[in-house]
């Protein structure tokens, strides 16, 4: 299973997104705002998910903003920074 698909499943499950399947989320779709519709509390939950599943501490907000832009950006950030993939 690709990292991108893993992330989509994780986000749907951990953030309890109703009525959305992994195939509904495009790799380059925006996660926040008009895309998937995540909000600021979800951003904090994403930090927790990265720590829990990929052992990544993401504390720099500027880096987080870029990494959380889309599934593609998030997967790239994980590939760069995690030993667990």
């Amino acid at each position: 299973m690709s990292l991108e698909l893993d992330l989509k499943k994780l986000i749907i499950e951990e953030l309890k997104i109703e009525d959305v399947e992994p195939e509904d989320i495009g790799d380059e779709d925006a996660l926040f705002g008009e895309g998937l519709g995540l909000d600021s509390l979800d951003a904090v939950e994403l930090v927790v998910i990265l720590k829990k599943h990929y052992k990544i501490d993401l504390e720099d907000m500027e880096k987080a903003r870029a990494a959380f832009a889309s599934i593609k950006a998030l997967a790239a950030y994980i590939r760069e920074n995690s030993e667990v993939q």
Binding site: L15, K16, I17, E18, D19, L41, V44, E45, V47, V48, K51, K52, D57, E59
Partner: protein
């Protein structure tokens, strides 16, 4: 002043809604009991646990709106909506509706999940959603938010005294004319830690709870939430019953003097310490229905609901598994809640 109980929303092992409780009393449905595996230093133990059958919340709230609401608060919301629906009342002035909830242990599964994450991953592993849901006041707050209620909102946790304190608070708000209605909710959640503690106290040695056997430990834990819609007693009101007395921390002598020929519903749940005290009450008319919903600190609120249903139906239902038949109810019912050795709370329903 008497408290009128206008609507009831139980969510327990029998199902969701007042009719599920009634059919349980009629022996037409059996409680949902799940076997849990509890790891101990002496190996794994099996523990039967009464688990709620929560159905129908999506009739009241869209699923998407519930994604940050944990299961404990979800059953509290469900029981509240069911109580309001049962009463058939629309709140015209939402500033005149109070919410007072009670729980012995609160949202235990979420609380331990939150703590486990901090232990495993440090501060960064602390989910803000888990934190928000782990607060004892979360269910009452969510009820206020979803229903748009702006009256007083509070949560009381006082173990075996939770029901009495919650009812006294409701009584006080109504008596001071702060509100016209109070949503009184009580519930507890099972978790592995409580299961471990229960096994340590010999729970699970029998597969079934025998609440009227005061000489053996037959305790089995349970989980559920129940909400009552309560108002000041007015003669024209429909509803179930009136609470005419709430007496807290009374000794054996006063308990014996309080009981005439009325049926007495007790919160015996197979706990030996409780059993020793109930044995001393020495009354033939003691009845327990705990083997319909399991044992937990606020399960006495379900006893109160059984009393209310009995008052409305004008009959005393036989104790589950007793093979006896229902009998006609003459006047009133006493609910007797064990507090500690030889000390009880007394509630009178008329």
């Amino acid at each position: 002043m008497r408290l009128a109980i206008l609507g009831i929303g139980p969510v327990c092992a029998l199902g969701s809604g007042i009719q599920s409780l009634r059919t349980g009393l009629q022996g037409k449905v059996r409680p949902n009991i799940e076997e849990k595996i509890i790891p101990t230093s002496h190996g794994e133990k099996m523990l039967p646990v009464y688990q709620p059958v929560a159905e129908g919340l999506d009739r009241f709230i869209p699923k998407r709106a519930l994604r940050r609401v944990d299961p404990f608060t979800q059953i509290a919301l469900l029981s509240t909506y069911l109580a309001i629906e049962d009463a058939g009342i629309a709140f015209n002035d939402k500033s005149r509706v109070g919410v007072v909830f009670g729980s012995g242990y609160g949202p235990t599964r979420t609380t331990f999940k939150f703590l486990d994450n901090i232990i495993d991953d440090g501060d960064i592993g602390a989910s803000p959603t888990h934190f928000a849901n782990s607060v004892h006041n979360a269910p009452a707050s969510q009820v206020s938010i979803f229903l748009g209620l702006t009256g007083p909102c509070s949560t009381i946790t006082c173990f075996e005294h939770t029901l009495s304190n919650v009812l006294v608070t409701a009584w006080d708000w109504l008596n001071q004319d702060v509100v016209d209605y109070v949503l009184v909710g009580l519930g507890d959640e099972y978790c592995d830690v409580l299961g471990f503690a229960a096994v340590g106290m010999n729970a699970g040695r029998t597969k079934d709870m025998q609440p009227m056997n005061f000489n053996a430990c037959t305790f089995l834990p349970g989980e559920g939430h129940i909400t009552f819609l309560i108002a000041k007693d007015k003669s024209h009101q429909e509803g179930y019953a009136k609470i005419s007395e709430i007496r807290m921390r009374r000794d054996l002598e006063e308990v014996k003097a309080s009981i005439s020929n009325d049926p007495v519903i007790i919160n015996a749940s197979g706990n030996l310490q409780q059993g020793k005290s109930f044995l001393k009450v020495q009354q033939k008319q003691l009845k327990s229905y705990s083997n319909l919903y399991g044992g937990f600190p606020t399960s006495s609120a379900f006893d109160l609901a059984v009393g209310c249903v009995s008052m409305k139906d004008r009959k005393i239902y036989p104790v589950p598994e007793s093979q006896k038949k229902e009998v006609k109810l003459e006047n009133s019912i006493i609910c007797l809640e064990f507090c500690r050795e030889d000390e009880f709370n007394i509630y009178k329903l008329e």
